[in-house]
Structure formats: C-alpha cells, structure tokens
C-alpha cells in the first residue's frame, strides 16, 4: 500500500506529517472565523430586517448606514481586503502572518456575506406571521427570538452551509499569503515546487471537507423543516 502510494504520490508520502497540521490550521480558521462572523452576521441581519421599511422597529437611518457598509465590504475582493487590512491586523493581532494574521481579514470578509445570507433567510418569514405575533401582544424582542429566529432555523442553517463552504475558499487564499493551512501547502509545494500530487491530495481533502459541511447542513435543514 505504502509502496504503491509512494510510486504514485511520492511527495504526499514524504510530507505525510504536514497534512494533518495543515488540515488543523484550515479547520481552526474555519471554526474561529465561522463562529465570530456568524454572531456578527446574525446580529447585522436582525438589525437589517427589523429596521427596514415596514419592519417591526423601522429605522431608516440605521438601515441605510448598515446596508451601505455591508455592500461596501462585500464589493471588495478578498485578496485586496487582506492587503487593505494589513495595518489593522498588525494593530489587533501584533502580526500579519499565520492564522492570527489571517483571522481579521477572514472575519471582515465573511461577515457581510453571512449577514446577507441570514438576512434573506429571516426575510422569508411570512409577514403575516410577524403581524399575528404583534397582534398577540408580543414585544419586538420576543418576536425576534421566538418568531424570526425560530421560524428561520432551516434558512439560517442553509446560509451557514453556503457561507462555510465559501469560507473554505477564502482560507485557501489566505493560505497563499502565509496563513498556513491546506491552501498554503498547495501553493508552497504544488505550485512553487511542481509537486502536483500534493495539489491533488489537497483537492481531495477539501472536497471531503466541503462534502462533510454540506451533509451536516442538509441534515440540519431536513430535521428542522416541517
């Protein structure tokens, strides 16, 4: 088996120890960024939905400002965002390389996307249901917690799946400028040193990772849709 592998993927076998490390780095970036940008994305999405025209706490100014900020950050390509954020990253993390150096950009790059995804999930809650809740005498806080969030759990799970999958892509880009992880491996060995088998292996691992995320997402959606 080993012999067979080393004839087909000699570099992969040689670098076998590095794969788990890189995978862990990628997972670290995924989880930390995922959790933080989920929290902020959810918060922004809620603010957008309740403050928009006809929302339960309509507020044109807050909606306008948040809406524009999110659009602004969504329109910056990630690789440029990372360059743009170098100063801020150094200030916050005291480094601009490694996982710590990548996190601020990853979070800033992912949160607006997450916010938009969750916003559209929340917007899918039938207006009539919100109205019925108001007619029942629920407070805005109760409506947000027990109606908006509860009713859109499947939509939010779907949003999280899509966002995490696109975040895998971002971690690979971040890897390319020194954040470590699977992307970093593919570039360092595969691209710079022509070790194509390393690239293939990275692709296979990422494919498995994405399949896993998608399956978990689908499972949650299925379990929570009635």
């Amino acid at each position: 088996m080993i012999a067979w592998l080393s004839s087909w993927m000699p570099n992969v076998v040689e670098l076998a120890d590095e794969f788990p490390i890189s995978l862990m780095q990628t997972l670290q970036m995924l989880v930390i960024t995922g959790v933080i940008s989920f929290v902020f994305g959810l918060l922004f999405a809620i603010v957008l939905v309740v403050s928009k025209k006809g929302g339960i706490l309509e507020n044109r100014i807050i909606f306008f400002i948040l809406d524009k900020i999110i659009n602004l950050f969504r329109s910056i390509p990630f690789i440029i965002l990372m360059a743009l954020m170098v100063g801020v990253t150094r200030m916050l993390m005291h480094t601009s390389i490694g996982i710590a150096g990548a996190l601020p950009s990853l979070i800033v790059g992912t949160t607006p996307f997450f916010a938009r995804q969750i916003e559209s999930a929340l917007a899918e809650v039938d207006n009539g249901v919100i109205e019925a809740s108001q007619a029942m005498g629920l407070s805005p806080k109760e409506i947000i917690l027990h109606v908006y969030l509860k009713e859109s759990i499947p939509g939010i799970a779907r949003a999280a799946t899509i966002t995490l999958i696109s975040l895998v892509g971002l971690t690979a880009i971040a890897g390319a400028i020194g954040a470590g992880g699977l992307g970093d491996m593919a570039i360092r060995y595969g691209y710079n040193r022509y070790m194509y088998d390393v690239i293939y292996m990275v692709v296979i691992i990422i494919l498995l990772l994405i399949t896993l995320i998608q399956s978990i997402g689908d499972f949650i959606v299925k379990r929570t849709t009635h």
Partner: protein, 355 residues
C-alpha cells in the same frame, strides 16, 4: 365595547396619498357579531387593523373596553392586544411549531405553569375540535383545520374581542360554514365580541347581528342585518344584497316575456318580499287552503336570518279577483311586502304594449 370615533387613515405612497379609511365612526356592542362588508380596496382591512393598532390611524380615536388605544404606552398596548384576538385570511401559523406549540405560544410569559398551559391548550383544542391533531405541524393540516388552530391561538389569552380579517375567504363553502358555525358558538358560549370583515354577503347573513357597508374608505350604511336586508339604502348595499339573490334575473325574464313568467287570464304574477316584519306562519298554505287561491311557485329564495324568514318569492296566483285581492291583503297584513308584476296578460310597466 369598541368605539371608533372619526377614524381616518391615510397612506403616504411615493406619488400620492391613499385615503384608505375616511372619517369612520362605529360603535360595536359587547357580545355582538359585527360585520364589515365592502369590495376589495374599500379599506376594510385597514379599518379592522386600526382597532388593535396594527395600523395607527392618522386621525380619530379608538376605544376598546373604555381604554383609548392611542394613549396607551407600548407596554400597555401589548397587554391590551392580548385581550384582542385576531385571525387572518391566510391563518399565519408558525411553520416551525406544532399545533400544540402554536396555541401555547401566546401563553409565554403569562405566568401559567407548564401543567396549566398543557391543560389550557388541550381545552382550546377540544373547543375547536382539533384535539387529535395536537402534534401535527401546520403543513400537515387542511385550510379549515389551520383556521381552527388560529382561532384556538387567538383565544389563548381569553380575549374579550376577536377580530376576523377575511377569515373564511381562503376556504371552500362547506369549510366556511363550519368555521362560521364555530365563531357563532364561541360568541354564544364565551360572550366574545366578534368583528368580522368579508366581501361576501352570505357570511354576513350567516352570523352577523349588525353590519357596516364600506365603500372607498367610507361607511356608507350600517345597521342590523334585518334592517339592512329589508331596507337597503346605499347602492353598494343593494348590490351586495342582490349578489345573494337571483331576483333580478326574474325581472329580466319578465321583461323578455319568458314563458315561465307569462300568465293567462285570471292569473297574477306577484313578488313577495319577506323580511320586513313578523312572518312566521305558513302563509302560502293558508292562502291555498282557507282563501282558496291556487298558487304556483316560479322562484323562491327564502331563508331564515335571526329566526325571521327573509328573501324573495315569485308566485302565480290563480282565482277570482276578489280572492286574489283577499290573498294580497292577507299577505300584506302578515308583514310581507307584495308587488304585482303582471296581471292577466298585462305587465304593469308595459301596459300599453299588451293592449
């Protein structure tokens, strides 16, 4: 119970103002079923939504149970809303919750214990005849069942008022009947005041005590069902009433001299209008048996509204003139309005032509 004083609502749209409700004043009594009827866009929904302030009126006052709704703080308004149940055309149930959870939902923070909530919800579900569906999700229910869940939910906090915005408009006629019957029962058993809006006169006729007719944001006429049906004044009202009866078709047939409406010598074609007064006896059989007039019925649509027969009947009387006249006198004395459409071969309006 509910008083609307000079309520107006104007919507600001990009290009102009929409005067959805214009200077409406209504007084809805405790325990009655009050209907609001009007065509689409008449402002019915806007008006009913003003009662629990889902829509804030631009002008006017709204009093529910003596409280001026517009002067309540947000917190008091929410407390007040718990005492005003509301149901909707599209049910508006939460998809993520079971029937039980939907009905229990308004009881959050009500101070009831888990067991008390369990008991309350079970009672409500038996009240709407859905005890066996308590663990189903709304997507597994029919429209009529969904509306029953919505009714149970609306009743959770023992409201004194139930607002119904086109509650039966998405349902088939049979289901509509069963929901209306349920509302009537609730009204009688719980003494809950019901405000119901609809565009179907049949719904009004079925359960309402009083009705207001709306057109272009204005209440053009209001009164008890019997008054409105017997003596409609506004054109809109007449149109709605006509929509529940085919009597205008008969008049068309008379004008076209349709064979059904032709009478031979000694016969009168008459139109009996029930509803004005006390018409409880079996009058036609009395005329037949005691006065000796032969009757053939051309058209009949008489139903019972509030224990009073109401509607139209078109019949041909055949007997001597004296007997026919006696029959007419008897009918009028019994409170039926009578109009002779044709006598002998003469149509009243078309006298000249026939001679």
């Amino acid at each position: 119970m509910i008083e609307l004083r000079h309520v107006s609502k104007t919507f600001q749209t990009k290009h102009d103002h929409v005067h959805a409700v214009k200077d409406v004043s209504l007084h809805i009594e405790k325990g009655e079923i009050f209907g609001v009827i009007g065509y689409s866009g008449a402002g019915k929904s806007t008006l009913i939504r003003c009662i629990n302030l889902l829509e804030r009126p631009s002008e006017g006052d709204i009093l529910v149970d003596g409280h001026n709704m517009l002067e309540l703080s947000d917190k008091d308004l929410r407390k007040m809303r718990k005492k005003i149940g509301m149901i909707f055309q599209h049910f508006n149930l939460m998809r993520s919750r079971t029937v039980f959870q939907n009905v229990a939902f308004p009881l959050k923070n009500s101070g009831l214990t888990k067991d008390e909530i369990q008991k309350k919800v079970s009672e409500l579900l038996s009240l709407v005849d859905l005890a066996d569906k308590k663990d189903a999700y709304p997507s597994q229910l029919s429209g009529g069942q969904k509306q029953r869940v919505a009714i149970a939910r609306a009743l959770a906090n023992d409201p004194s008022v139930l607002l119904c915005d086109e509650a039966t408009s998405a349902l088939d006629p049979q289901t509509t009947q069963s929901i209306l019957k349920l509302l009537k029962e609730l009204n009688q058993r719980l003494h809950i005041t019901i405000v119901l809006i609809t565009h179907e006169m049949a719904v009004i006729k079925e359960i309402c005590d009083r009705v207001a007719v709306m057109e272009h944001g204005v209440v053009v006429e209001s009164g008890s069902i019997l008054d409105i049906f017997a003596h409609p004044k506004a054109d809109a009202t007449k149109k709605f009433i006509q929509s529940t009866s085919a009597i205008s078709k008969i008049y068309e047939m008379v004008e076209n001299n349709h064979v059904f409406t032709q009478v031979s010598k000694g016969q009168w074609l008459i139109h009996l209008k029930y509803g004005a007064g006390n018409t409880k006896e079996a009058m036609l059989s009395h005329i037949c048996a005691n006065i000796g007039v032969e009757i053939s019925i051309i058209y009949g649509n008489v139903e019972v509204i509030h224990d009073t027969p109401f509607g139209d009947m078109v019949v041909i009387l055949d007997a001597s003139d004296e007997k026919k006249q006696a029959a007419l006198d008897y009918l009028e004395k019994s409170g039926v309005e009578v109009e002779v459409i044709r006598y002998d071969c003469v149509v009243k309006q078309l006298d000249a032509e026939c001679r």
